[in-house]
Amino acid sequence: MKAVRSLLDKLYDTPALSRFRPVIAAADAIMYGTNETTHAAPHVVDNIDIKRYMSLVILALLPAVAAAFFSFGWRVIAIIMVSYVAGGAVEVIFAIIRRHDIHEGFLITGLIFPLVLPPTTPLWVVAVGVVFGTMFGKEVFGGTGRNIFNPALVGRLFITIAFPAIMTVNWQTPFASGPDAITAATPLTTYKSTAQAAAVNPRVVEAGTEQVLFTSARAARNATLNPQSVFAGVKVYCMGNAAYKTAAYHRRIEEGNAVKMVSYGNLLIGKEPGSMGETCRLVVLAGGLLLIALRVSNWRIPVSYIATVFVFAAVGNYFLPARFAPPLFQVLAGGLLFGAMFMATDPVTSPFTRAGKYVFGIGCGVLTVLIRSFSGYVEGVMFSIVIMNAFTPLIDQIVLMFKYRPVKA
């Protein structure tokens, strides 16, 4: 290792490389740690630094990366590598131009960005997205710590709008390959199209109905117990196992006409199609909880975000089942858990006040459910986090206004 050390020292001293000092310093800092000491009080300081802080986020993401690898194969690794190389290049170029150190934040952006992409995303689109995200999501604002929006989401948003065909219709089924593996539907899409075509949670299944969707076992039971319901030739879609069992074993529903549309178990273990990192909800949850336990991310945002989605979806589903998907499905489907655990919690782009964190989480939750229910998009996590990012400074200002009364000069 002494050779590496002396090589680094030589590189520092080479005048031709003076512009590349940030790159050398980054390599140095990662390998050797710092020789700087405290200048004045406090003379002894905490051992944690930003490198460790960021590494722990990456550690918490690794299970999701592994799950993505097992679900979708080597392509995942290729996408991640393209993301790191292309995004890293932007970061390095800006560090060289600005003559400041390379900041560690990119290590997270470069990993989170590919994890929110569909596994079929072409590599060049990955590169375009990460370059756009790093440049316009972060560097133009002045780099780490000054950005308003989550850079990974800015990149994702850009390619979603720029390449809608690629980003919204090609989904790969986990653990499958070949042409059959490509599907146009994630669970959220399936729900939306079925809910539009079918009668959702009717009290009475009237004659002439072709499709019925039951979002809960209770709804299925209510309809089947109603003597006026007519089930002959009616296709019955059921959300989750409980509703399916209620319908499938009911003698009035013809055999084969009861269809289980969504399995919550499959959502949890990652058998439903979706973006690479979000499909296996169990490991996403585990990673998020690890970060909360290590105090790297704050629990307030994910808890308020997920709770809001659950409550809002429950209320909406009760009154307007044709629009609002049932609560548990909304929490497990799509990118909600991944977004709430890893992206809404980004400390730079979320409020720093405690009350503000709750407001942010609640805002994200309401927007997510609204976008999922009423917009042309099936998924609303990305949009809602980006929108709330924009409100972050305002939220903090308002909270501080209540917390600290203005003083008379």
Binding site: M1, M31, G33, T37, I48, D49, I50, F352, T353
Partner: protein, 489 residues
């Protein structure tokens, strides 16, 4: 009476750092020369009464100023004054007297002292306490009728005596109260009660030292003193925090506890009072805890004031690597050098490893001996068994603030340090800082300790306060404050 005391916001428990002070108390030899500075914590310099060549006795007053708020300063050894001049001390130029000792260890007692102190009048006691220099204790002094404190005797409503041991390194109450000292401490408290009859007395101790608490409360039981058990979370020993946890009151920002009638003393201050009144012994000695890995042993050493550190450490400082010497606190203390003297307010000298070596892949190491506010090192699990390292490495490069919020979580004053930092960094010095309560900061430096971006938050906040004062934006002054002689800290 033992009372549980409510906790306070934020704060941090420094647990199990290497080489903590031992309960052992040793006596240092008489130093060959002493340098005595003519200034105390809170008052101005006192005028010097001796000239080079004068013979002095230990306990003889060599500096005194009866017109300003101060207490006399004494020679701490028998011998001859060799120099009166200026000394660079903790960033200031201060007047100092250098005395060459003749090696004898006697001292000159104050007139009028008696072991039967109960027979003395209040005025006689106050005079002894004043003349001994014991009245110059704490951040505002002990009030007597001789202008020894910023407030008068009648203003004192409460006295808090603390030994909570919340610092990373600091003296142990058990060492200071070992053996007969406990009884003397109790007598000292009684003397103070006679001086300040209208004040309520509280003794705040480390809740984890149950045997000491039962000894102290047993001894003080009949004297109407309330013993409080405080969790040793830093900065529980700070005046502002003690006033709020023990009394449930708030020290107005930018002011002293004395301004609302509370005197905060430490255990040694009370022992000085006892020594002054019953033995006539002025403040010529101080017990200093030798803490940290830099010392080969970590006793408490009783040493004459003005003795240079090299005399105090006397061969106990390890030579195996570089150590940084700190006065009183690893978080807020100043650096010391071996030639510098022990002053009246010194109660701990801390030697931490000056670690400028690079640790390979430091940021991914498990860190069983690395202290951190976050539970991201193995020390979070093993911290009770393995001691943690005390060294000066920054452990990372300075980075932009990422709003992680650690500083806000630990702040005992309920501030948002990183928010204040953003204003000071951009040189926005105006009412906004007042609005975000910059003067509530008690300078404990905990925010800078926990910052993962290695930002010197405490220093920036102090800078902000200084700039505000320069702009004439001092902190708002509540009505009915006592002894308003200090405008701000």
């Amino acid at each position: 009476m033992i009372a549980k005391t409510r906790g306070f916001r934020g704060s941090y428990r420094f647990r199990n750092f290497e080489s903590p002070p031992q309960e052992r108390l040793t006596q240092a030899a008489i130093p060959s020369t002493v340098t005595i500075i003519l200034i105390q914590g809170f008052s101005d310099e006192v005028s010097c009464l001796v000239q080079p060549g004068d013979a002095v006795k230990a306990g003889q007053i060599i500096g005194r100023d009866d017109d300003s708020i101060s207490s006399p300063v004494h020679a701490s050894v028998n011998g001859k004054v060799v120099n009166v001049g200026k000394l660079a001390y903790l960033g200031n130029e201060v007047a100092a007297v250098t005395i060459e000792s003749d090696g004898t260890d006697g001292w000159q007692a104050l007139e009028g002292h008696t072991a039967q102190w109960e027979s003395l009048s209040a005025e006689q006691i106050e005079k002894l306490v004043y003349l001994s220099g014991a009245a110059g204790a704490g951040r505002s002094g002990i009030p007597t009728r001789f202008k020894s404190s910023i407030i008068s005797c009648g203003d004192v409503e409460y006295v808090i005596i603390h030994g909570v041991e919340s610092e990373m390194y600091g003296p142990l109450a058990a060492a200071l109260l070992a053996g007969e000292r406990l009884g003397q401490f109790a007598e000292g408290v009684r003397i103070l009660k006679k001086m300040l009859p209208s004040a309520g007395f509280h003794v705040a101790l480390n809740a984890e030292r149950q045997d000491l608490i039962s000894r102290v409360s047993g001894t003080l039981a009949s004297y109407g003193v309330e013993v409080r058990c405080l969790e040793p979370r830093y900065p529980a020993d700070y005046d502002e925090v003690l006033v709020s946890t023990v009394l449930g009151r708030t020290v107005p920002p930018g002011h002293l506890a004395a301004n609302i009638g509370v005197i905060v003393l430490d255990i040694q201050d009370v022992l000085h009072v006892y020594d002054a009144v019953t033995k006539g012994k002025p403040v010529i000695e101080r017990t200093v805890a030798l803490c940290g890995p830099g010392f080969s042993e970590n006793p408490h050493v009783q040493v004459r004031i003005g003795a240079p550190l090299e005399h105090l450490a006397a061969g106990k400082l390890r030579q195996d690597r570089a150590y940084r010497l700190l006065r009183n606190s690893a978080l807020t203390g100043e650096r010391l050098e071996m030639k510098q003297p022990v002053d009246r307010n010194c109660d701990a000298v801390i030697a931490v490893h000056e670690n400028d070596s690079r640790e390979m892949f430091a940021f991914v190491r498990p860190g069983p001996r690395k202290d951190s506010y976050t539970p991201t090192f193995l020390s979070a699990i093993l911290g009770k068994k393995l001691t943690k390292r005390a060294e000066t490495n920054l452990h990372g490069e300075e980075r932009p603030c990422i709003n992680c919020g650690f500083c806000e979580e630990v702040c005992p004053a309920g501030l948002i340090p990183h928010h204040l930092f953003h204003y000071v960094e951009r040189n926005i010095i105006d009412e906004t800082l007042l609005r975000f309560k910059i003067y509530d900061c008690i300078d404990c430096n905990l925010c800078a300790y926990v910052c993962p971006s290695k930002i010197a938050l405490g220093r920036h906040i102090r800078e902000g306060k200084d700039k505000l004062i320069n702009e004439g934006l001092t902190c708002p002054r509540p009505d009915s404050l006592k002894g308003l002689l200090t405008d701000s800290k």
